[in-house]
Amino acid sequence: MLKIEHLTKIYPNGTVALEDVSFEVPDGQFLAVIGLSGSGKSTLLRCINRLIEPTDGRITWNGEDVTNASQEDLRRIRRRIGMVFQHFNLVHRSKVITNVLAGRLGYTNPMMSVVNRFSPEDVEKALYRLEQVGLATKAQSRADELSGGQQQRVGIARALMQEPQMVLADEPVASLDPVLAHSIMNYLERIQEDGATVLCSLHFLDLVHQYSDRAIALNAGRVVFDGPPTEIDDAMFKDIYGQEAKRVG
């Protein structure tokens, strides 16, 4: 169970990205986070694994206090939280297999990483994960030789390498076409079916309807909606996206 209490993030330049955000996510839930660009979705997801340090509030996950964890504890927490990014965030000049293996870094002794060595089991695991996302033949290619959809699948394989209990997906399909979007969402759905919690920020409401159990809407850093996606009616929609917004699918 992920518990977020009074989470606030104010950037050094004074921007209030999150203001008093509180909610709970039971294990195994697919939670969609929606809202306009700049409403704080990315900040929220990054606060959960402390890629961004929260200004105030508390995050607990399975009883562990994430916000006050020491560097070593944080490493242990982060390695169980997979993350998928809008721009895939692969290391372009590295091989696909290396990108996937990076998912094991949290489990690898830092001294071994200096000499660029992973255990044989990890290498085997990485090949298996690549096979799962249908990219077994691309293992030795350079990451930037892959198409967008393929790169995101590598991103998912990297997250899978962490054997995650939670996956944070930050607009994973915003840079992809609709067909690819569904294929990526299917992978996330499968991760959820394997028992992991998924927090996914999304732009398209039909994807929210189709895949999520629950939706949270942010507007200017505040939670303006929290409930099953079916409850997002036209009035609610205008609350979330503003009065001028029109539904596009």
Partner: protein, 753 residues
Amino acid sequence: MAEPVSGPAGAPAPEPPPPSKRKRRTLFMVIAVAVGFVVFGFAFDKTQVDLGQIQSQTRQESLTRILRLLAHPELVQYDLEQQLTEVPVAVPCGPEVSGTATVGQERGSVTVTPACARPGDTMTVTGSGFNPLQAVQVNFVPDSEFPVTLSLARLQTDDSGSFVTEFEVPDRPSDIPQSIQVVTAVRIGSWGNRQEVWTDSNENGIKDIPRIGANGRTVLTTDIRIPDAPGAALIDSSFSVVSFISFGQPFLAVAGPANGQQAVTPSDASGDVFVESMGDGQVVVDGPPNTDITQWRVAVYDSTDGSLIGVEALADVIDLSPRISKTALLTWDKIVETVMLAFLATSAGLLLAIPLSFLAARNIMRDISSTVTNLALTLLAVPAGMYLGIHVSRLVQMASEPIRGNIALTLLFLAAVPVVVVAILQAAVPPKDDVPVPATTRAARQAALLGAGIVGLLGIQFASEISDRVGRAIEGPLGPFGFLGGFLQQLSQLNDVLTPIITAIAGAAVMITLASRLGYLIRSRLGTSTVHVIDFATAALAGAVWFLMIGAVLDWFYRFGSTTVTVTAPAILGAGFGVFLVARNFRSGEIKVGLTVYYIARTIFNTLRSIEPLVMVIVFVVWVGFGAFAGSLALALHTTAALAKLYSEQVESISQGPVEAIRATGATRLQTVVYGVVPQIVPPYISFTMYRWDINVRMSTILGFAGGGGIGFLLAQNVNLLHYQAASVQMLAIAVVVASMDYLSARIRERVV
């Protein structure tokens, strides 16, 4: 719906500025022009601009002369011989002499106009078809019973091999024809037809070929008086004694090139080349056929008292003309030195700049902050750790001493060290880090790593010893590759220089780890007020210690000689500064250490970068003496600063996305750098390194002007001696090397980026 179009046409015309503003603008323009006039005038005065010089006739002639000399680099060297051309002239005119007289030779012809004149008239001598830029002597050969010549002119042929001179006919009237004699230096041979030129070094009138003959023997005929019981030393071209044989009793030389050395009987002699017999004005030398004995000498001794009788060249100098000039050979030697100097400086700078560049990268350093407690403890830990590190390296060196004396033991230990280190590493560094380990295990592992480090250090001592011994052993036998032996010996010395530094840094690192662990424990276990007390106390202490160190450095420079200035004041100031820092960050308890380091690193790099290597080399020349070593040290220092800055900018411009993704997997800072940052910066690093090498080659060509070795020294020397044709060779070499480096580096950079 059509909106009214607004555009330039529809826009209202801009209002003319009010008259007062216009006046002000005009006034401003007038002042600006006046100021500009004054500034440029001042600049012209200070730089002594003198356009008259550009137009001056004599200056233009000098320029022409130098440019022509520079256009004839002395790549090829000819031996010269004198050629005499005599043109008959009549003083005064007789009936049979015509208007002009011309005499042609195989190389060049000389014409005298007119061919007859009265004393005091002017005659013109022109020559053409000679070798360019050679000396010409014009003489008048009068009718005399003695062989007398009157010098008329001394000049040089121009670059097409011609010359013209006028002279006043001397007052030597005669009925018989007299002559104008022109002595020109002409080159021997040509590339298609190279001629042998023989210099009789030992002046015996015999052509002594500087190689031992096919029969394994060479005979020197000499007019040195050879005593009844002679001794002979053979001296090679580097002035060392190859063999020293006595044909009487063994004796000790008391003078000459073999002074202080013992001559032995032929049966005891060693060496390939030796004097086989001597007498009757001949010295017979035996040796392997075709051994090069150029510039060898033989010293004849009297075996009865060891005195020197004479020294004679064993063979003559036989050259081909033309041949590659000495200047060209020397230039080649120096240009290789220059390129290698640049190469060494670049590699040393590269090695230092890579780790340093991260310290000067804002995006890496920005996020590093430390609690006040940790910072104070770390600042205390650094000097302690360095002291410990240096001490450990000394201890290790001492401990290795008894073993290093014995070569077999050293080899044995050297072989054992990697085994031990690998075993410790395997035990102490499990590949996985997935279950939390108890603190005791962790401590034991870290202790084991420390032990591995010390064993490794010991291994380096043994390796250095072996390297030194092997270096000494192979230096001679390897012949032209003997420099590899010297290199091994230098590597061994590098160990002596670098090991204390590296152990000091390692010691500091170990102590920092311990300090941060201690800081974490203090923060998490003790109450807030206790932590504050500790913060103030440690910060005051740390401040005092560091200010004392700074005070010591200043004292070393300025020799204050007063404990108030060097001890009391820094201690109080430092403690005060420490307390001030804690008080300032009292609320957050955090200090942005990373940014501080970033600014310090930036400042140092910028300062070092702004000092030209040409200036730095002055200091290094004092330290390590004239030559390429001083130059490469200066260039390495400059390169480190320059590359660190260029590199750090590359680190700053990497895309943050992958770094964020790697961090999200639970990677440590080190892992993030290795997997997220390094792959992104490899191509720009290679590219900048090549670019820097290119720059360094260019810079090293001028380092010689300040004594830093390389081709610049040669160039400066030749320019100062007004030897422009030689300087031209060096300029040509620099141009060729710089251009090819430029091309090469551009090609490689194209490839990697």
